[in-house]
Every structure is written in C-alpha cells, then in structure tokens.
C-alpha cells in the first residue's frame, strides 16, 4: 500500500512567450503512493494544471519541461526499456523524461490517463460517445496484445491503414469487441441505457453524463494513475456530488491512484488522502489532509482556508489574502519567498527563498515557510509597504499559461438565457 508509484523530482516547466519566460512550475517534487488520492489545490496561475500536463506529457509549444525527473514504477516497463535505455531505469522505476517521445506516448491511456475540466469540449462533437470510448479501449487492447514489445507498442496505426479502412472494414482501428466493452464501461459509470447512449453524440448528453463518459473513457485502459484536472469545476453542485461519489466508488473498487487537481477546497476535503497546496509554481505545503487543513503552517494555506465562506455558520467578515496572484514571469520573480509580498507574517528571513521544512502533525507534513522552524516575531516583520503597491498588475491573461485551463470558465453558471440570443417575443 505504501509504495510510491510516481516520484517527481525537481520538475520545472516553462513557457517561452514573447512577454518573457514564465516559470509555470519550478523545481517541484512530488511522491504519489499506489492507491491513494493525492490532491493538488491552488488558485488560477498556480501551476497545478501544468503539473498535471507535465506528468501526462501533454505540454506543447511554447511550453517545455526544462528540467527534472518523473520516475514511474512499473516492472513491465523496466523490462521493456532496460536494454535500450539503461540510463532511464533505476530499480523498479523508469524515468519517463529519459524515454523517447513515442514510447512515452504509448503509456498514455494504459499507464496514465486523464479527465479534463470541460467535458463538452473534451469530446469530439462529430463522433458518437461510444466510438470515442471504443477508441480508448482499443488503445488498451492493442497494447496488451503485445505487452512486452516496445516496438509493437510504438508502431502505430498508419495513414495507409486509415485510408484503407474506408473500404476494408478489417482495417478499421476500432474493433467490434472494443465497442462492446465501451458499452460496458458506460454502464459501469452509471449511464442508463448504455446501448442506446453509446450511439449518441456528445451534445445529446448532459454535462454530468458527459463527465461520467469521460471517466469511463479514462478508465478504459485500466491505468495505474488517473489524473483528474478540475473534474467537477464545470458542473453544478448536485451533479458534482454525483460525479465525486462515482470517482470515490470506482477508486475503491479498482484501487487506482488518482492525482486530483482542483481549486475547490471542499472537493479536496471530500476526496483526498494527501494534499499539496500550490502557489506560484511550487508546492508550499503538503501533508495528510488533516495536516494541511487543521495543522497548517504556511500563511497562504491559512489565507486560502480563511477565504472560503463557511456554509455551516453565518458569516463574519472574511479574511482574504490581499493582492493578486503573481505573474510568474521570470524577470519579475525575485529570489525570495514568492508569497512574501502578500503574506501578513512576512519577515526579513522571507527575503530568501525558503526550502521545505518538516512541520508538525504527521511525518509527511512539510511546508515551504520559515514559520515551520521559527515563530513569528513582530520585531522582524517587513514594513507593510516593503513591496510597494501590492496592487501591481497581476497575471495578465497573455502571460498566464494556466489560464486556459483554470479560469476561462471557472465555476460560472451559464443560465439558459444569457447566451441564447433567441428573444423573440
């Protein structure tokens, strides 16, 4: 139970835009155990989505993983690659970043799979849901047909096959067996009447149904690690509850590992065993759920929890974090604690970039804050205007690679009418 399935060391992902280099993720370490649900929580622009995509190898230009190692424990994979890529192997682990691109790609769907925030745009609108699920099943089927052969895995379905498939049904990528399995998967995630539903198109599904279908698709390859990037952000609260129940249930049944990315602290509390709080491309505090929620050390974690209005009690004044999320542009990042400019407890020591300190609570509780080591002293506090105008321009939408994932449509309600434009009395 307590073996690591994924070890991420010193991962940095940068985006090279014309406005400058954006350090979306910097020197991030992460250990995920088999069978646990690990949550990463953070605000838009904190780099949480980029982290997920880096693990999935989905970073595209102008983004680039500039350094780091992603060690993945898989004995079969070790056996496959140790001859060709001895450098990439360490015991039962394989460093994914040392593997060639096509080999990494072959792990998608089978070792890692992903659920995205917006189910509507994450399905191709012109193919039926069943077909798209069957594709995912087929990926797994073909991979397991040649489990030990790297070459067979990477030799892909070619353009010639595809062109031929329009005349020869035998050349089609998706087999009949996969289609049937797709229907079973739909049934597994609780879609009523899956046979008929499989032949429907994404727009005929409701948002919640589609998110279920996406979960089914992600599970088609029986992956080791499921990366769920804001899986319920686009959904209404009653539907969110259904989807979370489903995920919980499936995790219990299959014992898979889930990396859950969200901005919603409630979802974290509902789902996760362990949590990492991200800020400005770093994990600033991590530990078991209880460590982070009840024993938190980092003032950012405290601010985040303090900003959420309490559902159980009528409101006092909220304790927001002043200022805005930093821009992450390289030139503007000083060598200090990145949170110092917004921190109510910033001290002189915070002008140096803090390492991760062990914090109280469980032995896995760590915080990137000097307060884990020393107590706050009024006398050493930085003057309030030390960083000048705290309202400095924040992460502009251009300068913020996370934005597309995090806050283009965060939790907004689209009412029937706002967009219908169909007002004709």
């Amino acid at each position: 139970m307590t073996e690591d399935v994924l070890r991420v060391n010193d991962l940095s992902t940068r985006f090279f835009t014309t406005e400058g280099q954006i350090n979306a993720v910097s020197s991030l370490d992460l250990r995920i155990e088999r069978g646990e649900i690990f949550g990463i929580v953070g605000e838009s622009g904190s780099g949480k989505s980029v982290t997920a995509r880096s693990v999935m190898n989905l970073i595209e230009s102008p983004g680039e993983i500039t350094s780091g190692e992603i060690w993945y424990r898989n004995r079969d994979l070790v056996a496959e690659v140790e001859d060709d890529y001895p450098d990439a192997v360490d015991g039962e682990f394989v460093d994914l970043l040392e593997l060639p691109d096509d080999l990494r790609r072959s792990l998608r769907g089978t070792s890692f799979s992903m659920i995205f925030q917006d189910p509507e745009s994450s399905f191709n609108s012109t193919l039926t849901v069943g077909e798209q699920l069957a594709e995912a099943v087929e990926v797994q089927r073909r991979a397991s047909a040649n489990p030990r052969s790297t070459r067979a895995r990477t030799r892909e379905y070619s353009l010639g096959n595809y062109l031929l498939s329009s005349v020869l049904p035998s050349q089609r990528y998706v087999s009949e067996a996969s289609r049937e399995r797709a229907i079973e998967l739909l049934e597994m995630v609780g879609i009523p009447d899956p046979v008929e539903r499989a032949d429907e198109y994404p727009h005929e599904y409701s948002g919640g149904m589609l998110q279920r279908a996406m979960i089914a698709q992600a599970l088609a390859g029986e992956p080791d690690v499921l990366v769920a990037d804001e899986p319920t952000t686009a959904l209404d609260v009653t539907i969110q509850a259904q989807v979370l129940d489903l995920l919980d249930d499936l995790q219990e049944r299959t014992g898979m590992t889930i990396l859950l990315i969200t901005h919603n602290l409630g979802v974290i509390a509902r789902m996760c065993d362990r949590v990492g709080v991200m800020y400005a491309g770093e994990i600033v505090e991590r530990g078991r759920l209880e460590d982070v929620f009840d024993e938190h050390v980092h003032p950012y974690t405290e601010g985040l929890l303090g900003s959420v209005p309490d559902l159980e009690r009528a409101g006092d004044r909220l304790q927001p974090i002043p200022g805005n999320v930093p821009s992450l542009i390289d030139a503007e990042m000083d060598d200090r604690c990145y949170f110092a400019d917004r921190c109510p407890k910033a001290m002189e020591t915070c002008l140096e970039h803090p390492p991760e300190y062990d914090a109280g609570g469980s032995d896995r509780h760590q915080a990137r804050c000097v307060l884990a080591e020393i107590d706050y002293e009024e006398g050493r506090a930085l003057p309030a205007d030390y960083f000048g105008d705290t309202e400095r321009p924040a992460g502009d939408k251009h300068a913020d690679p996370d934005r597309t994932e995090d806050d283009v449509e965060p939790e907004r309600t689209r009412s029937v009418v706002d967009d219908s434009g169909g007002d004709r009395r």
Partner: protein, 351 residues
Amino acid sequence: MKRKRDYQALDSLDTVYGYYIQMTLGKFLVRRILQGVFVIWGVITIMFGLRAVSPGDPANLMLAEGATQALVEQVREEEGLNEPIYVQYFDYLQGMVVGDFGYSWQSNREVEAMVIERIPATVELAVAATIVAIVIAIPLGVVSATRRNQPSDYGATLFSLLGISTPNFWLGLMLILILGVWAGLFPTGRRPVGFGTAVLTLAQTGSPSDIFTWLKYIALPAITLGTYFTALITRLTRSGMVDELGKPYVTASQAKGLPAVLVRYKHVLRNTMIPILTVLGLQIGTLMGGAVITETVFNWPGLGLRLIDALDARDWPLMQGIVVFIAIAFVSINIVVDALYASLDPRVSDE
C-alpha cells in the same frame, strides 16, 4: 461563419440540458428549398428590374437596323412591351415558373435550348477544376498545418498566396504561352470534342483517342480555373486545421493514447472539412465568375462564353436565362452542401 456564431448561442443553451431540438433532415431540406425558391425569385426580379431600367428600346435591339416604325410597333405589341410594367413582370415570372425563358433577341432561338446546350461544357470545366483543387489542396493544407514553420509549410503558403493573387485570365494566357506555344505540350485552339461525344466514341468504337483529346484540351482551362480554388482550399484547410488542433478534444484524444494518425485524420481533418464545405458552397458564385473568364480566354464553348456574347449584344432574354440558371445551380448546390453538412455535423439544426 454566420452558422458558427449562431450555433454558439444555441450550444450553450442546449448543452446545459443535453437536449437538442433536432430537425429531421427532411424538414431541414424543406426549409432550405423554400429559402432557395425565395432567392431565385429575388434573382429573377432583380434581373427583370435591370432590364426594365436599361436604356434602349428592346424592339430596336431585336430588329435589324433601319426597320420601319410599323415593324417596330408590331414587335412591341407581340412582345407585350406596351403593357404596363407589372403585367410584363407577371408574364415574365409566369414564364419562368413553367420553364419558358423566352426567345433570344439576337438569334430568335429558345433561351432554354441555348442554355442547355452549353451546360455540359461548363460543368465539365467546373468539375475538372474542382477535382484539381481538392486533390491538390487538402494534402497541401494538411502538410502545411501539421508541419508548421517548416520548408513544406513555407512552400505551400507561398503557392497559395500566388494562387489567390493571380488573375485567372492572365494565368490562362501565360499557360497558353508557356505550355501551349513555347513548350508545345497542350493544344491551344477550340476543343474539337466534348466529353459526351468522347464517351460515345469510346462506347461505339472502343477507341479512347477522343477521351485523350478531350483530356488534352481541358487540362489548361481546368488548371486555370482550379488554381484559385486550390490556393483558397489550401489556406482554409491550413488555418482550419491549426485552429482545430488547438481544441481540448485533441488534447483529450492524445491523453487517451490514440495514435497520431487517427487524431490527425479521423478527428481533426474531418472536423476541419465540415465548416470548409459551407464556405466552398458559397464559392460556387466565384467559380461561375471564374468560368466566364476562363471560357473567354480559352474560347471554351460553355455558358460563360455565351453570357459574354449575350451581354455584348444586349440580348436580355438570353442574359436573364443564363443568370437565372446560374442562380438555380448555386442554390441547389448549396442545398446539397447544407444537407451534407447536416449529415456530417450532428449538432446542426437550422438557425
């Protein structure tokens, strides 16, 4: 584009519920046909209006110079030109409805016959040009979009830029000059044989020589007419595909491990081509305009050439006949395109 935006409005409304008002294809077609009938009526009416305000007495145009006043008067009476304008209009409309387009003033032949006999040549040309365009443009666009900022992309971009910037009459002349006259690869005169005759010869005598002749003669006109569209479709494919590649479902398909070929062709290219189809439907007008020019350059015995003749002679019935025919062709092709669109994109319901 219009279509796309309207859907946005509909989309957000409907995906909330996962329900869609789905029109049956039949109903959809009935709507489009009704709209088409309105369009054709509009075209007929505008042509009638233009004729009514055009200067000169039609009777004079119909008769040889120096005809007697009495004769002119007689023709006016026969042609109904003395009637009030609205009576003329309804007569004309009535004729159009039953397929009676009147008589050419110049040759006194039935307009329908004069139009119909010229259709095959123009259709042959247009189809040949379209085939040239599609066969070249789609692979070029795909290569360009998937290998962005590489030499093959630059080559395709340059080609398509030249293609949309070259007037086709000049291109035609240059092709005649270079490939026809200087290199002697293609004949430059009027074609001796049409496709129909060539096929007939093949069927009767088994000799394909007429087909080869036909091919030789159609090559340059088809390239001339097709270049612009090749360039246009290349550009459309490239930009459409680049857009499409940035969509979340592409990332999702990659994340589930789908082979790149399938992501690129089964998903992306297919979705790229659906909206392009509509754009191309609207380009039929440009294609017909291009055909007029190309036929003039190559002395190709099609509708376009006849239209220019009719214009020169101010032969209004013939002109109207040809323009209305073109409009009917435009409308019908667009209905087919829309039906195709509707069958390819499951979300379509009419605006």
